[in-house]
């Protein structure tokens, strides 16, 4: 008889906890792996594909699944460091021996040489090139991520990757710099 009571008690307890767990699983359901979103926000979103994945989010997913964190040249060391902190792994030097501080570039089309083939428009991952067939194309500099993807398809080699121009807003005080005076 005692055994019977014990079985009922334990069984009912198991049922209750099972229901609670089942409810929690539905109610507090996590849509996708939140780590992927966190990694994605750290990545520079140039969508350049230099990591070997078609865009930043696929790479974020790959990192979440255990891929190396040092495959993002546009992000530089800073991104690797942040990813290392987030993933709890050792920070590594960039794969491929890229420089730690990448120079930010944007694409410029030498407009008088453009033949209007639209190939670069198709290559641009962020739709930052405007133009039409047989019409001159141009790059929306503010939207360009500097991913280099438009350079290769150009049949007439009229796209240059130029470093982003320094403005008063982006200028930084140079600590420890030798003061330079212009001599008139």
């Amino acid at each position: 008889m005692t055994l019977f009571y014990a079985l009922i008690a334990l069984g009912s307890l198991a049922l209750i906890f099972g229901l609670i767990l089942g409810f929690a699983a539905v109610r507090f359901r996590v849509e996708s792996n939140p780590i992927v979103d966190q990694i994605d926000t750290i990545l520079p979103q140039t969508q350049c594909g230099q990591c070997g994945y078609p865009g930043c989010r696929p790479y974020a997913e790959a990192i979440a699944n255990g891929d190396e964190i040092n495959k993002c040249p546009p992000g530089g060391e800073a991104t690797v460091k942040k990813l290392a902190d987030l993933m709890g792994v050792e920070a590594k030097p960039l794969a491929g021996g890229e420089q730690a501080e990448p120079i930010k570039t944007v694409a410029y089309i030498r407009e008088d040489e453009c033949i209007g083939c639209t190939k670069c428009i198709q290559a641009c991952p962020v739709d930052a090139i405007v133009g039409a067939t047989r019409q001159m194309h141009t790059v929306l500099i503010d939207e360009c991520t500097g991913c280099d993807l438009c350079v290769e398809p150009c049949p007439v080699d009229c796209i240059d990757m130029l470093p982003v121009k320094e403005t008063k807003q982006t200028w930084k005080w140079q600590l420890n710099a030798i003061p330079v005076t212009q001599v008139d």
Partner: protein, 824 residues
């Protein structure tokens, strides 16, 4: 509120924490009245002299402008116009070093004064009370007034605030050492300043206006009190001399006891601060109609002979100011724009005065020593005591050094006003403010990058979505297509077929070349008896049947008339011939057939052969269209077939010659045109060559497959040659067309250049590929050394050639462009 106003009226001030007492150094520059300078040789008016966007440029190089004429037009986003400081000629509009520590170039209008100093038409307002709020704001906006205390915030934005303003605070503190521009302005133009204050009162209707003046400016206090006597709502408040009481937030705390919360602006707590210089400019703009084209600048420092204040036209080069005041530079002379605390050393003195330039300090080495080496922080906390914003400079310094930007934000780095009090008191001479500025710039950059990354992500996602949608649409279209085809398209196809049939039915004369082809085919097929397209053959056979019947009748008639003697024989022969002709027709038209049939009987044969030949001819005619003339000249003897072929060949040759002639003619006319034509012609010629090669290859193939008959091959070759010629001609014609329009339009030249470049690129690529492949060959076939050895130098040579070709092409393109430009 009432209590607060009472307290203020009783002269109560609420000291802010921290602050320092640097030596004033103001007496040197207050001994003389504000001086007027001779006109400089040139004025460099930067388009951006304030916080916000540039105005839109409305003048151009070489234009004559009058004093006060607007150079830019404001276009929203806090943009403020700039005006010509004097009359003269705009000699250039180009980027010039800007009044910023970096001296990064900023687009500037360079004016050469004509010395006349002619004002443009001014529209002074006599009764400002009659102006509406918006009209008054517009006057301030169009006059290009921006905060003249140092930050350069557009005044019209402040004047147009929608928030209720309780206190209008007039900043006449001028706490920084050396600077006396506001002091002197107040002494000389107190009435004008008060008039400006009253205009602001009209716009903002504050409960109280407080003019805050430090107690080291007794003359200015007296002058302002005198000027503001008539207005009860204006209080002149004397505040103790302490740096940085002139900071906006510090002054609000000092005069009203209220603190501006972190991250908000004074207007949020009903305060609005204006500099005295700005208020004077407002007065000038409204009552005299004069835009902001000059300001008071203190020129001081021990290397200046005549220290004092001057009215400087905006855009006057600092060098001119210094020279006019007697500048004797020491070795490694520093020139500072702004005061010694918050100013910056100018990289060059060829920078124009801007709306925020209140002081030019040219100190010698004793009065403003070069900062010494940074020593280790001793954690004395003197900086924290001096900080007027109650921050922890020492902590901020550590975080800035280790780039811990999150921590910096936690410690409210952005509440730092960069007054430099901490660095002033630091016994270790740590350039604290520099660290904060770098950290601020880094954080701002990171934030900007974050925003940009966010936008890039959005755009990338949007693009992905769009591409997916497009693909889906395309697939849907493919699904829908077959149904549509069943009705419309089929009808179209049927129509087209019918048209083709109709066309092939009528046998009007086509070109001799076509005939030659037909005959060549006939001959070939006759010899080899190769049935080709069976359906076409059947169709042709049917047609031939009809023709044959007709011919038969005709021949019978003829026979009855002329060859009556041998009825039976001829009938038999005719029957044989017919049968043979039929066979020939079935195997597609053939003359050779007739040849075989010929030598049975002399007479019979002659008739039969004639009939057969005629039939064969007819068949050929029906199939591929032969000229009537040839049919007429149809030979009696079988040798004549050869003659016909010869004729055809001759014709083909003729045509080819004609084509050649034409080509030559075209080529003759080509060199007349310019080099563009040459390039284009070269391309065309290359094409022609390619076509010819292809044709030749074909010919060779044909020769290989049918080496039995040399003549056929010759004919085919002739045809091929003719074709090549024709192609060349066509290309030439095209070229001609291009040439004709080329000189007119330099775009076409660009197109040609682009083509050339594209070709060059392609060539280079192919070269690279072939190089790679040859290298691969090299790798894979180590045993066979001879081939790669031969290949490699060649390919490298080719590479070089390609590079050279590319260079030539580019040079040509450039030349073309130049020519085009010259022409246009």
């Amino acid at each position: 509120m009432e209590k607060l106003i009472d307290q203020i009226k009783q002269g109560k001030v609420w000291p802010f924490p921290g602050g320092i007492h640097p030596p004033g150094q103001k007496q040197q520059s207050t001994t003389q009245a504000i001086a007027r300078l001779p006109l400089p040789d040139k004025l460099v008016v930067s388009l951006k002299q304030h916080i916000g966007a540039n105005g839109k440029l409305i003048v151009e190089k070489g234009q004559q402008v009058l004093k006060g004429q607007a150079l830019t037009k404001p276009s929203g986003n806090w943009s403020v116009p700039v005006h010509a400081p004097t009359s003269g000629l705009i000699s250039d509009i180009c980027p010039m070093p800007s009044a910023h520590p970096s001296a990064l170039p900023e687009l500037s209008v360079i004016i050469e004064p004509d010395g006349e100093d002619n004002w443009c038409e001014l529209n002074p307002v006599t009764d400002a009370k009659a102006l509406s709020h918006d009209e008054l704001v517009d006057v301030i906006h169009q006059s290009g007034i921006a905060g003249m205390g140092g930050a350069g915030f557009p005044t019209y934005v402040k004047a147009d605030t929608r928030k209720a303003i309780e206190f209008l605070i007039v900043n006449a503190v001028e706490c920084e050492p050396y600077i006396t521009a506001d002091d002197m302005l107040m002494r000389e133009h107190a009435d004008g300043i008060v008039a400006g204050i009253e205009l602001m009162q009209q716009l903002l209707s504050p409960q109280l206006t407080i003019i805050g003046i430090e107690d080291n400016k007794p003359d200015a206090i007296a002058a302002m009190k005198q000027a503001a006597q008539h207005n009860d709502s204006i209080i002149v408040q004397t505040v103790p001399t302490i740096y940085p009481s002139g900071g906006e937030k510090q002054l609000i705390k000092l005069l009203t006891g209220k603190e501006v919360p972190s991250g908000s602006i004074p207007a949020d707590i009903g305060m609005l601060v204006q500099n005295v210089g700005t208020l004077f400019a407002v007065n000038q703009a409204v009552y005299e109609g004069k835009p902001l084209i000059e300001r008071v600048v203190t020129v001081t420092g021990n290397t200046i002979h005549k220290q004092g204040n001057v009215w400087a036209l905006l855009g006057t080069e600092i060098k001119h100011l210094l020279d006019c005041q007697g500048f004797s530079p020491a070795p490694q002379q520093r020139v500072v724009m702004g005061g010694p605390m918050m100013g910056f050393t100018l990289p060059t003195v060829r920078i124009g005065v801007v709306k925020t330039t209140n002081c030019i300090l040219a100190p010698d080495h004793q009065e403003l020593a070069e900062p010494g080496d940074e020593k280790a922080c001793i954690r004395c906390s003197a900086c924290a005591d001096a900080c007027p914003a109650s921050l922890l400079p020492q902590q901020l310094q550590w975080f800035a050094k280790s780039k811990e930007y999150d921590k910096l934000n936690e410690h409210n780095l952005f509440d730092c006003i960069e007054c430099g009090a901490c660095a002033y008191v630091c016994p270790s001479e740590i350039p604290l403010v520099q660290y904060y500025r770098v950290a601020k710039a880094e954080i701002k950059e990171q934030q900007a990058e974050q925003i940009k990354a966010e936008r890039a992500k959005e755009r990338f996602e949007a693009r992905k979505e769009r591409l997916e949608r497009e693909q889906e649409e395309r697939q849907n279209r493919h699904k829908r297509k077959p149904a549509a085809k069943s009705d419309d398209e089929k009808q179209k196809v049927a129509d087209a077929l019918a048209r083709v049939k109709a066309k092939s039915d009528d046998t009007d004369s086509k070109s001799a070349v076509a005939a030659a082809i037909a005959r060549a085919k006939a001959k070939k097929q006759g010899a080899e008896l190769e049935p080709d397209n069976s359906e076409v053959a059947k169709e042709r056979a049917a047609r031939k049947e009809q023709a044959r019947k007709y011919k038969e009748q005709k021949a019978l008639e003829q026979g009855e008339e002329s060859v009556d003697k041998d009825d039976k024989k001829s009938a038999v022969a005719a029957a044989i011939a017919r049968a043979k002709a039929k066979k020939a027709a079935q195997a597609t038209e053939s003359q050779a057939e007739a040849e075989e049939a010929a030598p049975v009987d002399d007479k019979k044969a002659a008739v039969a052969a004639a009939i057969a030949r005629a039939k064969a001819k007819k068949a050929a005619q029906a199939a591929e269209s032969q000229t009537v003339a040839e049919a007429d000249s149809a030979p009696v003897d079988d040798k004549k077939a050869a003659v016909a072929a010869a004729i055809a060949r001759a014709k083909a040759k003729k045509a080819a010659q004609a084509a050649e002639n034409q080509t030559e003619a075209k080529e003759d006319s080509a060199p007349v045109d310019d080099k563009k034509a040459a390039v284009a012609a070269a391309i065309a010629r290359a094409k022609a060559k390619k076509a010819a090669q292809a044709a030749e290859n074909q010919t060779e193939a044909e020769e290989d497959s049918a080496p039995v008959d040399d003549k056929k091959a010759a004919v085919a070759a002739a045809i091929a040659r003719a074709k090549a010629k024709k192609a060349a001609q066509a290309a030439e014609n095209q070229t001609e067309a291009e040439e004709d329009s080329a000189p007119v339009d330099d775009k076409k030249a660009a197109v040609a250049a682009a083509i050339a470049r594209a070709k060059a690129k392609k060539a280079a690529k192919e070269q690279a590929q072939s190089d790679e492949s040859s290298e691969q060959l090299d790798d894979s076939s180590d045993t066979d050394d001879s081939k790669p050895q031969v290949d490699e130098p060649e390919s490298s040579e080719d590479k070089k050639k390609a590079a050279v070709a590319r260079a030539i092409a580019r040079a040509k393109a450039k030349k073309l462009q130049q020519e085009g430009n010259d022409k246009s």
